[in-house]
Amino acid sequence: MGFIRFVAFAVVRAWQGFWRNAMMSLAATATVVLMLVLLSGLFIVIGGLNSGLSFIESKVGVTARLRDGLTDSQVQNLVADVRKIPGVKTVDYVSPAEAMNRLKQAYEERGETLNLGGASITLYASLEIGLTTPDMGAQVSQALSGRDEVAQITTRQLDYAKLLNIIGVIRTVGIAALVLVGLTVLFMIVNMIRIAVYSRAGEIEIMRLVGASDSFIRWPFILEGILCGLLGSLVTIVLVAVVWDPIQPIMVRVFQMPTAVSSQFLAVLSALVLGVGLGVGALGSWISVRSNLASAN
């Protein structure tokens, strides 16, 4: 009972305090929104790039085109040897017939039919080699190049390194920007609470004299900062939800894969925004209360 009364008291006072200096509070809230929008943007872009990365990662590998006319046992020997090369995770033999099937399927997916004009062609057999890590490509091709069963070696990993670089840069720049904006937000909230404390100096003095406990004196200010973070989070979540659908096609186009559009993504992002918003609000007001509300009674 007493605790509920305390919470009610603190929440009401925090609410009153927030609106008492509305300009200041709303300015602080706006910086919170700015920070959280930046955070969301970064989260979306890095999330998109990462899923692009794992898509490419799954495609990274080495293809070894085989010489014509190998016997089954020659192929089996080769596969067994390739499996032993360090860095090789999987080895799949693609027969000429299967290669043809894939080609047909690829045409069908584009809504066309493969028309060879009656000619019969034979595709090459190949080994599709998956790697333990994407950067093993060069080493594996090196090892393969000595085998005379192999006619030609192709590696696909150029995009991977490029994308990895881009993600690295975006992450670094983004986090640096976030830290700067975050410090601004902290400064705004610390200041907002400082002014709130001073505008209530008379009340605080009376509270101390009549024997109010520290909790009653401090929590309203802490909650005022948390309220600022909460409002900022809610505004940001609404903003992100509103632009979410329109940006989907763009994301799919930019990152080239639909995996960026995970249904959980928005929920995780909202939780992150809420957590960071509340956290920064609480931290700012806590710092301010610690330095502006003398703890001696």
Partner: protein, 246 residues
């Protein structure tokens, strides 16, 4: 630290102990000013005490030590059974609820009505609303302000404002009421009305300690007088006058 709500547990003061006790108390401010020197005082429950002395003698400092706004730099202060030097920070609110205090400048919150000013003191100490509704009118009629409960402080006379401050000081039924020059801003007639109220409160069992420059009142009342001069307690006399009479 910001702890969770702490509910100060009121330990009753041991029977027979003075409400205020000072043993060899000294108070030297950080700037080197010795505001109190070797003060020894014992004030039993129910006493009515005037604290007198010229400006700068240390009266307000004395009061600051009693309400534990400051700790003495020497000696021991006990209040309502608490040794103030040993009081944990979380217990200070408990002590403060045993003491009511009023000042020369009233210190009412200007944007709150008389009722709200008194209610505030209960609210911020976690009192249930029903209790507040019951208690505030009682206190306001005790000080004779029940018809002014919806007035703002600036709509009241000085005497009425001081009564409102007294009502607020009494919300927790304190063991003592401390007044630092309560009549300093009041005309003589109003001052006398206020003293009548303090006498009435004292008669109900509350110890009263009043710092004052008001010679007329001290001389007429003939109560116990503590006189400070440059921080030293130069006189502690029952039934006394403002000035030394011998």
């Amino acid at each position: 630290m910001i702890g969770v709500i702490e509910r100060p547990a009121a330990a009753p003061p041991p029977v027979g102990e003075p409400v205020i006790g000072m043993v060899d108390v000294g108070m030297t401010y950080p700037n080197g000013k010795a505001a109190l020197v070797d003060v020894n005082v014992s004030i039993p429950a129910g006493d009515f005490v005037f604290l007198v002395g010229p400006s700068g003698a240390g009266k307000t400092t004395f009061i600051r030590l009693v309400i534990r706004e400051q700790l003495p730099t020497a000696g021991r202060v006990t209040v309502a059974g608490y040794d103030l030097a040993r009081l944990r920070r979380g217990q200070v609110p408990t002590l403060r609820r045993r003491i009511g205090i009023v000042f020369q400048d009233f210190r009412l919150l200007p944007s709150k009505t008389v009722f709200e000013n008194v209610a505030f003191a209960l609210e911020v100490t976690g009192t249930p609303r029903s209790e507040i509704k019951r208690r505030v009118p009682q206190l306001l009629s005790l000080v004779g302000l029940h018809e002014h409960d919806d007035h703002l402080p600036n709509q009241l006379s000085g005497g009425e404002q001081q009564r409102a401050a007294i009502a607020r000081a009494l919300v927790h039924d304190p063991a003592m009421l401390i007044a630092d020059e309560p009549t300093g801003n009041l005309d003589p007639v109003t001052s006398w009305e206020l003293i009548q109220l303090l006498i009435q409160i004292n008669a109900m069992g509350t110890t009263v300690l009043m710092a004052t420059h008001n010679q007329e009142i001290v001389n007429a009342m003939r109560r116990r007088v503590l006189a400070l001069e440059q921080g030293t307690l130069v006189r502690d006399e029952a039934g006394a006058a403002y000035e030394r009479e011998y």
